[in-house]
């Protein structure tokens, strides 16, 4: 019990210290996970909307795959990316193993199916509602895609946040492809794993509390922007 209480004071001390090493770890966590989410959005939004709107053979199978891949095990994706980026792997010449870029790639693979699957569902529902209208306007397929993604923008925020939550909390993939290297690839979750293995349980839990606070700050920021946007949209 005292460990749990100590964790809160550790968390407070970490936040108040503005320690350069600690801030670098927080910064890298945000950089890696936000970049991964950005990439996942660029792929996932159009992919999910396309599966929702267009009729093509195997469409049901693709939708099933997207839903299944929401549960991709981070360790397995980490291992796969590791083997591809390893000096002995197909992309070894790039020398990307144990770099933040490798971590972004792994997390983007984990997050893309979440964004795509949730986009597909949201856009499909909207299409059911506004499909006739769009058809009557004789909108071209790509315009329909863009219009529906745009109309779904507020619902899609939740998809983005789900993806961000997955990325920032994930440890299995970044541990393998990043290597948890001090001052290079150490992020919040791998630091927590390290402190746990050192037996510094209060520090580990304290870092966990800080991680939650940061996730809260990011989520709140997105929600506030979303609410302002929704109000403006309602006025227009």
């Amino acid at each position: 019990m005292s460990t749990i209480l100590n964790a809160f004071s550790e968390a407070g001390a970490l936040l108040a210290s503005f320690d350069a090493d600690f801030l670098a770890i927080v910064g890298l966590s945000l950089r890696v996970s936000l970049s991964a989410v950005l990439i996942a959005c660029l792929i996932g939004f159009p992919l999910g909307a396309a599966v929702a709107l267009f009729r093509f053979p195997g469409r049901g199978a693709v939708a099933l795959m997207l839903n299944t891949f929401m549960g991709l095990p981070p360790v397995v994706i980490g291992l796969l990316v590791f083997l591809i980026l390893s000096r002995s792997g197909p992309l070894g010449v790039l020398g990307l193993l144990f770099t933040p870029t490798a971590m972004i790639i792994a997390q983007a693979i984990l997050v893309t199916p979440i964004i795509a699957a949730l986009t597909r569902q949201t856009v499909e529902d909207l299409w059911r509602e506004y499909g006739d209208h769009l058809r009557s306007l004789d909108a071209r397929p790509l315009d329909r895609l863009g219009t529906l993604i745009y109309d779904a923008r507020f619902s899609l925020t939740t998809a983005v946040l789900a993806g961000f939550g997955r990325a920032i909390a994930e440890v299995g993939a970044v541990m393998i492809v990043g290597g948890n290297i001090d001052h290079a690839t150490r992020v919040m979750t791998t630091a927590i794993a390290l402190e746990t293995s050192k037996g510094n349980l209060a520090t580990a839990l304290g870092l966990g509390i800080v991680l939650l606070v940061i996730a809260l700050a990011v989520t709140a920021t997105v929600q506030v922007i979303n609410a302002i946007g929704a109000r403006k949209a309602a006025i227009v």
Partner: protein, 277 residues
């Protein structure tokens, strides 16, 4: 709005990237050392590597994994230097051409930790083999690394010398954690079980619970560390020059003195034993 969400993320991305880029690019491509959790978790590398960088201006980074995993990273050419502790495997690694050469660096020893009340009576035993025999005879809970690490290999060598195969009791009194030394010690502390640990990790470990050292000081518990240059002829991108500078430093007077000076709670954890030129 999509554009706006995207630009928000782009802004956040840019805001955070300078932090990361600043400290990655400041180092260029650093020399990469694969080492074991025992040298990293005990704080040894964190203590001596900055001295090396200060002496030579060469940046070095550590990937801390078990010895088995470290040898694999060397085999695939993903790291430049290995600092590991499994003598037979190290020699085989060099003999197979994966490593250019191996040198002695230091040693410490393994200890058997266990519940303070010592239900299997290890404190009364004369050697490590009979201590392990007592654990098996008593079916006292024992946590094994089970991860092909240097410590795991040392444990299996001792079991072999007792002619007991503990793995048949796997999941009963013999529990394989499959993780690093620290995670394994957390498990032992939780179960109040026996386990084999290197002394360095044990002394620096902060969640000891009711565990104490119950057996130590037998020659099979010696734990020598060697340093290996990953063969640059196999992997052209190995930073051989900087790697050689590091090997010369850690086996030379500066590195050896730094190892000897490293202490936790006034106890010396690693004993330098590189061949003096």
């Amino acid at each position: 709005m999509v554009v706006r969400i995207a630009s928000l993320f782009a802004a956040l991305f840019l805001a955070t990237s300078f932090v990361g880029v600043a400290f990655v690019e400041a180092q260029g491509t650093p020399l990469t050392l694969a080492s074991t959790t025992s040298t990293e978790n005990s704080g040894l590398l964190g203590d001596i590597l900055p001295r090396f960088t200060k002496d030579t201006g060469i940046a070095i980074q550590v990937v801390a994994v078990g010895t088995g995993a470290a040898l694999n990273l060397g085999r695939s050419g993903d790291v430049d230097v290995l600092l590991v502790h499994a003598r037979e495997d190290e020699d085989a690694f060099v003999a197979a051409g994966y490593g250019a050469f191996r040198r002695d660096v230091m040693f410490n020893d393994f200890v058997i930790v266990g519940p303070d009340n010592d239900p299997a009576g290890l404190r009364a035993q004369a050697d490590a083999a009979s201590a392990f025999g007592k654990i098996a005879a008593n079916e006292s809970e024992f946590v094994s690394r089970g991860d092909n690490s240097g410590t795991h290999k040392a444990e299996m060598r001792i079991w072999k010398s007792t002619n007991i195969d503990p793995v048949i009791a796997s999941g009963r009194w013999y529990k394989e954690s499959g993780s690093g030394m620290g995670a394994t010690l957390n498990l032992s502390a939780g179960l109040n079980a026996y386990t084999l640990s290197d002394r360095g990790t044990w002394l620096s470990f902060r969640n000891q619970g009711d565990l104490k050292i119950v057996f130590e000081g037998d020659p099979p518990l010696n734990n020598p560390y060697g340093i290996i240059l990953v063969n640059p002829e196999r992997h052209p991108y190995i930073q051989a020059e900087n790697a050689l500078a590091f090997i010369d430093w850690i086996t030379g007077p500066r590195g050896q003195d730094a190892i000897a000076a490293f202490r936790i709670a006034e106890e010396q954890l690693f004993f330098p034993n590189a061949a003096r030129p």
